[in-house]
């Protein structure tokens, strides 16, 4: 029996660029871009380093409908400067989130970022904090902010911290979520602590399946634009609350999780501690089988979403 049928030919989220992801997510023809490439709002800093700019500074923002519901949407271009935050890139996302609060519209953010652009470090870091604040303010006004993680650059650094402020996160197997990247950990802690070239290890530590099992993301999907679309719709449909009670409950949950799992050395140890009898095959497992096991074993979804 051949397995050629196993190979999907739908739109791979991993392969797609920012604009293709938006096209695959939203209702056909509904996307209207804000500050589009023709406005040429480019980075004011990159020329100093003899680096080329991109007309949209690596993030596409605008409005669309998702299953008929009006949303604001942002998608990072992971192939431009690793999707990293710069001054204009950050400002576009801040502005979008402020608009979300003003208009009472939900937001969907397709993350694909290594963190802050070194060439624009100060502006980038400021933007990260402004975005975090804007996410919180939007959520406090009753708006959902849903993050999608499945691109080549993953969701690292300041991007990962923003992501964890969102109402809900959707991740695919290829997606990665972590503050520090594999090379940074290896450089700082040594190869015995973390071998960044051991990609199976990287995914056991930061990848979509692990994050789903440990309660770091809410929904796990196949690497398909349509799967992300359906998950985003589901995530937007959940109730969302953001107040002091919720934040305290989230803090307690994280403390408890750390106590329970903090001594584990590897993702497989974590999954074993979660009660999964045979954790080793998890990375190679097809989605249906994985979701079945996860349903009865994964860490409880937190209270802050």
């Amino acid at each position: 029996m051949t397995s050629l049928a196993n190979v999907q030919h739908s739109v791979s989220w991993f392969e797609a660029g920012a604009r293709q992801r938006i096209a695959g997510l939203v209702d056909a023809g509904s996307f209207v871009e804000f500050i589009g490439p023709e406005k040429r709002e480019v980075s004011p800093h990159l020329a100093l380093f003899d680096l080329p700019v991109q007309f949209d500074d690596g993030i596409v923002v605008g409005a669309a409908t998702l299953d008929g519901r009006s949303v604001l949407i942002a998608a990072q271009e992971g192939r431009f400067m690793g999707g990293a935050f710069g001054e204009v890139h950050g400002a576009k996302l801040v502005g979008l989130l402020h608009a979300a609060r003003e208009l009472g519209r939900d937001v969907v953010i397709a993350f694909d970022t290594g963190g802050v652009r070194l060439q624009e470090a100060n502006a980038g870091e400021l933007a990260i904090s402004e975005i975090m604040r804007a996410v919180i303010e939007a959520r406090r006004s009753g708006v959902h902010v849903v993050g999608l993680i499945g691109g080549r650059a993953g969701c690292y650094g300041g991007g990962s911290i923003i992501a964890e402020c969102c109402s809900a996160l959707v991740a695919s197997e290829q997606g990665r979520l972590s503050v520090s990247g594999p090379e940074v950990i290896e450089t700082n802690k040594g190869v015995e602590e973390f071998d960044s070239r051991d990609r199976a290890l990287v995914w056991r530590t930061m990848g979509g399946k692990h994050r789903y099992l440990i309660g770091g993301v809410d929904l796990f999907v196949d690497d398909e634009a349509n799967a992300f679309r359906l998950a985003a719709i589901a995530a937007l449909g959940r109730s969302s609350c953001f107040d002091e009670t919720v934040v305290r409950a989230e803090q307690a949950r994280l403390v408890h999780r750390l106590q329970r799992l903090g001594a584990c050395h590897d993702g497989t140890d974590v999954w074993a501690a979660l009660g999964i009898a045979d954790p080793a095959p998890i990375p190679g497992m097809p989605t249906d089988q994985f979701l079945a096991i996860a349903a009865s074993h994964r860490e409880n979804v937190d209270d802050a979403r």
Binding site: M1, T2, S3, L4, N6, V7, H9, S12, F14, E15, E173, Q174, R197, D198, R199, A200, W203, G207, K209, P283, G284
Partner: protein
């Protein structure tokens, strides 16, 4: 009165001296260097298994640790210079002279040791040529080989990565030499006997598998639209019209793209069963979709590829497997198969000149030849006809009498007009010529000669050199597919148009191909994970290719 068994006597003396460090045939790793100092004599010809993939790494470390005062001026004859230890031998004076074929990973260091006078170069060969000389004038006195396992009699199992071993042992063992093997484990009974114990004198239990270079895994995620376009042009402009069933793909992304386009683009053209049925080929993971879709009858392999073992075991209809079920590769026979039993070789190179000579030499690296000069040559000893062979022969010599007109093997160079680092593929003068001048070599290291080359394929189209009647036409045919390189821009536009009218040059449009259709969605697999899924989970990709 002449003595006629001096070599046998000498071999027996070496074995005697070595036996002091062994229990029967078995040698503990701690005694390895002492064994080598007893068995290997200064000035010996030594073959240390540096195959294309498999490396006798423990024996290499052992040989590199001998005392140069005791063992020096060795003449190294081996296929591949791959491990640092292979060159440490020269640095330390343990070895002096070198005859080899391929040095990919060490190409820069080979060059610097050559220029520094630490290596006395015999010659750079193609694999089959070096193997041939093992039987004539480069017979090793000592062979240091690698196997998966051994029994106590010295019978060896070499497994999927059998590669050069039978050839090396045949020459050394029957040529009065000593054979020393490193193995991953000693067992009661080997799964199959690849090398009989009669020919093996010492066995060292390394306690771990020998090192293997993963060379033939090309990540589909890295295949570009331009490479897909060249693949479409090759399939429609060459594979289809010549009806190429028996062939070899040189390693590279262009051929990987062809492999991944067979079940999609090739299927749409109705070519399954008409092309690509029999291969001399390593088990490229990118072949999985085509094999699964029923394109391939049989593949013989030079070596194996990391992660493919279980897939091969489960597809014994296609691959050569032993009674134990695992792959049996054999470089010497696969190279011979590529020479005589294949109608096409298609591969990539780094430079092509205006004659059509091609080379991978650059000024600071000497990577050698590997198998390409053999695979990419026209075998004049061939006698059996086939349609592609006869058709090519007729194109080369349309006026000659048919009954005396030999066919031609299709030898195709495929690549983008600009390669890595935006270096042009087409040049006026090969770097190989500059190297030859610098090193005072009698011959420039050309990989495939112009008179063997039948076609060149780039994103601009196909140049059919068989149809060219003089050097001028040849030059313009090459310029006509050289794109925007200096060579391409120097073309005589009128002459190129005349060549196009005679179909010496064919553009994508002439083949009914729109370059804008060259899209990654045409690939039957777009990632390593897709390949793994297409194999039903049998293919186990090495860690460095994973993103899950």
């Amino acid at each position: 009165m002449r003595e006629w068994d001096t070599r046998k006597t000498a071999r027996d003396a070496r074995i005697d001296a070595g036996s002091a460090h062994a229990t029967g045939k078995i040698v503990a790793p701690a005694n390895l260097t002492a064994l080598l100092q007893a068995v290997v004599r200064s000035g010996d010809r030594v073959c240390l298994e540096g195959d294309n993939q498999k490396q006798a790494d423990l024996l290499a470390q052992g040989l590199a640790s001998v005392d140069p005062a005791v063992v020096h001026d060795l003449h190294i004859v081996q296929s591949g210079i791959v491990l640092p230890e292979h060159l440490d031998l020269f640095e330390k004076g343990i070895a002096k002279r070198l005859d080899f074929s391929f040095s990919g990973p060490q190409s820069a260091r080979v060059a610097s040791l050559l220029f520094g006078g630490k290596i006395e170069l015999g010659a750079v060969h193609t694999y089959l040529e070096l193997f041939a000389r093992y039987f004539i004038d480069l017979t090793p006195n000592v062979a240091l080989i690698a196997a998966v396992s051994a029994d106590r009699e010295g019978n060896l199992y070499t497994g999927p990565n059998t590669e050069d071993t039978p050839t090396v042992v045949e020459a050394t063992g029957y040529g009065n030499g000593v054979v020393i093997a490193q193995v991953g484990e000693i067992v009661d009974k080997v799964p199959r006997v690849d090398i009989p114990g009669d020919l093996v004198h010492f066995v060292v239990d390394a306690g771990r598998h020998f090192y293997v270079e993963p060379l033939f895994t090309r990540d589909p995620a890295a295949i570009t639209e331009t490479q897909i376009l060249t693949a479409m042009i090759a399939i429609k402009g060459l594979y289809q019209p010549y009806g190429v069933k028996r062939l070899n793909h040189g390693i590279g992304f262009n051929t990987a793209a062809i492999e991944l386009l067979l079940p999609t683009f090739g299927e749409k053209l109705g070519l399954r069963g008409k092309i690509c049925t029999h291969f001399a080929l390593n088990p490229h993971p990118t072949m999985i979709p085509a094999i699964e879709a029923g394109w391939v009858e049989q593949i013989h392999s030079f070596g194996s590829e990391v992660g493919m073992e279980d897939y091969i075991r489960a597809r014994s209809d296609v691959f050569f497997t032993g009674p134990d079920g695992s792959l049996r590769s054999n470089r010497a026979f696969c190279q011979t198969a590529g020479l005589y039993a294949c109608d096409m070789f298609i591969g990539s190179t780094l430079q092509i000149d205006l004659n059509g000579h091609s080379s991978t030499v650059t000024e600071s690296r000497i990577a050698g030849f590997g198998g390409a000069p053999n695979m990419g040559s026209d075998p004049r000893g061939r006698r059996h006809p086939s349609d592609p062979w006869l058709k090519a022969g007729a194109e080369a010599d349309p006026d000659g009498p048919a009954l005396l007109r030999r066919g031609r093997k299709l030898v195709v160079q495929i690549g983008e007009t600009f390669g890595e680092g935006n270096a042009p593929l087409f040049v006026e003068k090969l770097a190989a010529l500059e190297l030859a001048e610098k090193l005072n070599l009698p011959l420039a290291p050309v990989m495939v000669y112009a008179d063997d080359t039948t076609h060149i394929v780039t994103e601009e189209g196909i140049a059919n050199l068989l149809l060219c009647r003089n050097a001028d036409e040849r030059e313009q045919a090459i310029r006509g597919v050289a794109g925007f390189t200096d060579v391409g821009r120097g073309r005589d536009h009128k002459m190129v148009e005349r060549l196009r009218a005679r179909k010496i040059i064919q553009r994508p449009e002439d083949l009914g191909i729109d370059p804008l259709d060259a899209d990654r969605s045409l690939l039957a697999a777009r990632s390593i994970k897709d390949l793994m899924l297409a194999s039903g989970g049998l293919y186990a990709p090495p860690s460095k290719f994973r993103n899950w």
